[in-house]
Symmetry: C3
């Protein structure tokens, strides 16, 4: 990992060229260049927003996306409450009969309880009311954030249109390089940055990636506690989106974090003297955040289960094989990131390596699992074969209870099994695949060389490239 | 497009070497070489048929294909009339009950009306009778054409067998180059062409592609009115199979067309003097053809809707994603065609570029559409998830009205949405893809260079490579 | 096929370096090297087992696989007998009604006959009893073989662990080269082979592949009667797993076979004198084996039909296109094998050529079949379109008898048809594909060169690469 060290030193050096604190100093600038975009105070955040708006493909898409997120939240809570309180499942499951005067068919609306019964049931249920209040508060919080965001990005939008001379409809078809080149041009004209006369691409990257670079450095130096050695599972990595959020909360923007504002460390953290005291303070803060996490845990868990159910049930039904798909883990995304690499550059690099990485991992299906999967698939397939044959002969069989469910479940079971059985005509050449992956991810420990077919290499690589199911 | 001009001049020059009119002049040929294939009068048509028979993989395949076409026509009309008049939908939809003495099950034949009721209903319906007469006339026309074709191609078949010494079963596995080489040999022996002693490959190409070359030239010179600028949609191209058929009717073989017979322009069109008068006559002909088109329009429209319904409903049900597939447009096929390029050569060239072209177009999913599609997929997926879960728990839910339809429709809806969401691991490199396409289609305006990621380039390319749905 | 001859001579020469009979002679070995693995008597079988255990990924996988095989056998017989005797199909097909006091739903257990009725039916059925006895005997035979195998491989396992110092969990991730290198090392230490001081890789290969090399030689020299010329079908190859098993029985290990034990020919076969007499004896043995085959034929046939039904019905339902998939034929696997090529090396070589071989064969869809398939797909698609439209409008249509079966069967029919219709955008370049295949299979007759698009080449290649359905 020698290249990380040198790169890190280069990075440090570049930061000390323009230390974060310097931003508050005012340079002498020509008077005539004043404009709306002259001397932007919080340039880090400004550039980050410019970058975000580009990545989100313009203002309308961003707005729409956020509105949909708000609606999704309402929908998930509302639909769950509705399902739990307002549906008469006895009618749906034909345990109770409906008296129709006109037709003998049961329709969906028959199964819905009348509005008054339904609202009475909700009103009587303290837990439902509690959930509704919690999610109402959370939703209002999101709404306020949304309105704030709209205001901020409206400004960015007008920066794009008036200063950079790009319409929102052009934005998705412009590369970031083009946008950046225009920003560099703009600096000459409007003097948006106050410390420097000329803005280079590196300056812009530094400002956008300030926190990300810190995170990359901490992951590379193994400063974050993400590796564990539980008794049975062996060396493993635990780095979820929740953990990442907490880290960012602690270090960068939570109350009492290490940073004074969005771009400079608090002065006390720069001096080496009171290190121990600061560490103590940080420890107590982490404890409090941990307790807060523990309290919010059930709510978050329920939310995640509901959201996953609504999002993925249909996918699993349609293509159960996707359960076996893999993606780059959050840890891998952090570990394989270069310093000063923007999100879209990292994603494009990892995407290029995705196919080879998938193939590489598929070379290593556990032989034991394969044997079991083959036989489970055979037994399930036998039962399914008989059911299918009976159904084709006379579809009244489907009217027998649980036959249809059995067919569905056996089908899913077989598909899952099949994803553990390697393709007979697969060519096994891990060494080559690993070399292709290396070309894109730019990282390989020496002991992987020549050992691509070993289990240890596979295990270490799987820390970077995990099952999508785990990711979810 | 400079290369088109020079190529066109070369083409013109080559035509004047053997002007179409010359074919009627008789050259001095040795007496001993006379045979059935000696001095073929209409050599253009003859070569076109030889080429067609090769492309259709022999006589049996061609015959079978045409018979099936006739049967399809009968089937579509007959089945539609049957569905409209002879089915009691109340029984199918279980709104009316059938009294069976032996069993309680409703069978399909129960829903069919008795023959006398059915024929009475047809006899009373004037519109049905009108449709039947129209399609009967059309079918007889096709039948006559079919019988004529059989006779013609029977001759070509014996030419293959007796002159070229190729059996019909060998034909699908012989390349056109091989067939052509034998024709060139045959000329030396049988003197099938009367103007020249030796026949070159270029001669054969010229004769087969005479009209096609004119069309290519007219499209390349933008002489045909296929480009429009409707108010909102911007620059677009309208060139359907119907329009193509009409153009050919007007120029090449309709009554009063520019050509005297299948190979030579009428003499009056060769003189520049009475150009205006001829243009007037052409304009009035086009008017009459337009009126005929307008009158036939409803019949053709109904036919096309019926045919599309029968052909594509099943495909859309099975893989709705194919709606989003693309293919080379008719305009593209004409525009990208070289002079003197046979159908199979063009198709092979375009097929080679197909994969890259598809990928290129997929790089440009509208980001707005993506956001909407993602969220519609989420909401539809949530409802589907609940229905699936209920179904697996107890399949009696399926007996509730519209639940099964909802599951089907939600599934289709989600699949359509998914086709608008780009793959997460897709690598975006339009520049490279466009270069691969170029290598096969041999055409790229200068302003595409370096602008492969721009919307304008994509728009212009999409004129050549359109949605299959539009094509249909 | 000149390379086969020279290779065969080299092989013969190498065998005469260490003639099979010599193994019984004891060489002088140092006294101190004695161990459990010192002077293994049947080294051929020993090495074969070492290789097998490596290929089966260790002892646990092998054990599990064999146990599952025994269970499958029990399951297939038991389940078939159960289906034939213990299910009341009238209840399943709703021809008879069940009286429930609590619910009106028919459940699966309702359709099962009570245990006493069921066992009485089995007891009364002589054929069922006969089948049960036959399969019981066969199963016991397999069980004994299994127990014997477990003992043998337990020894191999301890050889791996104690002598080669490899745990079973490491085994799947070690290449055969690594294992072999350790065996060569071991020889120096333990003197496992008694004739030679040093063991080379070639020695190990020879011992593992002794019989396989004989088979490869016999197939290459066309000594085995596997090619036939039935009246209509033309030149074809018949070489099934059953035939292969019989050949091995006759030549290698059956009672009265050519080999004295597992490594040396009987002495009488080595002398040229009594050739005719030996041929006579062999002929009579083959006759007896043929008669035994004939007697066992119905049992084997029923078993294979049952096994195929249970294994493949579900696959055909799920992806009917896989019926059109191809794989290397048994004959191809023998014909394309080099001398001294282990199974995994052959499979990896053939797997690399698989994709190109599939594509090559797909270039040659019969044009006649394509025309028929297109039209059958159209007619089936039309009916399906109407049924789907009706179903979406009102799903009560599904309750009509045979509608659901029709939808399923029409769907399967269309998918099968589609596998005969070539992809429109397929690029046809058989010459290149054949060259890619050649690079992996290392075999091409001279008359294929330049004739890759011919039917004869295709036919000959299809002998090596046949339909999977035929393989099954």
């Amino acid at each position: 990992m020698a290249h990380f060290d040198t790169e890190y030193q280069r990075l440090e050096a570049s930061y000390s060229d323009s230390p974060p604190g310097e931003e508050n100093l005012l340079m002498h600038v020509p008077e005539g260049a004043k404009s709306q975009w002259h001397h932007i105070e919080n340039l880090d955040l400004f550039f980050q927003r410019v970058y975000n708006l580009h990545q989100k493909n313009g203002f309308t898409c961003m707005l729409l996306g956020e509105i949909f997120e708000l609606v999704q939240l309402l929908f998930v809570v509302g639909f769950t409450v509705f399902l739990a309180n307002c549906v008469d499942y006895d009618i749906l499951f034909a345990n109770k009969f409906v008296n129709h005067t006109d037709s003998s068919k049961v329709t969906l609306p028959d199964a819905f309880l009348p509005v008054d019964v339904c609202s009475a049931r909700i009103r009587d249920n303290a837990f439902v009311i509690f959930v509704l209040i919690i999610s109402g508060v959370f939703w209002l919080h999101r709404l306020v954030k949304f309105i704030y965001n709209v205001c901020c990005y409206w400004e960015i939008r007008s920066f794009y249109i008036n200063a950079l001379k790009m319409t929102m409809s052009e934005l998705p078809y412009a590369t970031w390089q083009e946008v950046q080149a225009r920003i560099v041009e703009i600096q000459k004209e409007h003097q948006i940055c106050i410390h420097k006369k000329e803005l280079t691409e590196l300056d812009i990257y530094h400002r956008i990636l300030r926190f990300k670079n810190y995170m990359v450095a901490m992951v590379n130096k193994s400063l974050l506690p993400v590796r564990f050695r539980p008794p049975i599972l062996g060396d493993c990595v635990f780095y979820t989106r929740g953990l990442k959020y907490n880290f960012e909360l602690i270090f960068f923007w939570g109350p009492g974090s290490l940073f004074e504002n969005e771009w400079s460390l608090k002065p006390e953290y720069k001096r080496g003297g009171n290190r121990l005291e600061l560490a103590d303070r940080l420890a107590s803060r982490i404890l409090w955040i941990g307790i807060a996490n523990l309290l919010l845990c059930p709510v978050i868990l329920v939310w995640q289960i509901l959201y996953a159910f609504f999002s993925y049930t249909e996918v699993i039904k349609r293509e159960p094989g996707s359960l076996g798909a893999r993606c780059w883990s959050l840890y891998g995304r952090c570990y394989l990131r270069h310093f000063n690499e923007l999100d879209h550059e990292l994603m494009s690099r990892l995407s290029k390596g995705y196919k080879a990485a998938s193939k590489y991992m598929n070379c290593f299906l556990s032989p034991l699992l394969t044997v079991v999967a083959k036989n489970v698939a055979f037994f399930a397939g036998s039962l399914l074969a008989v059911l299918i044959a009976l159904t084709i002969y006379d579809e009244d069989v489907l009217a027998v209870e649980h036959v249809l469910s059995s067919i569905t479940l056996l089908g899913v079971c077989i598909t899952v099994c099949r994803s553990f059985i390697p393709d007979k005509h697969m060519v096994f050449c891990p060494e080559q695949l690993l070399r292709v992956i290396l070309a894109h991810i730019h990282y390989m420990p020496d002991h992987w060389q020549g050992n691509a077919h070993r289990y240890e290499t596979r295990d270490q690589f799987s820390q970077l490239f995990q099952y999508k199911a785990v990711f979810i």
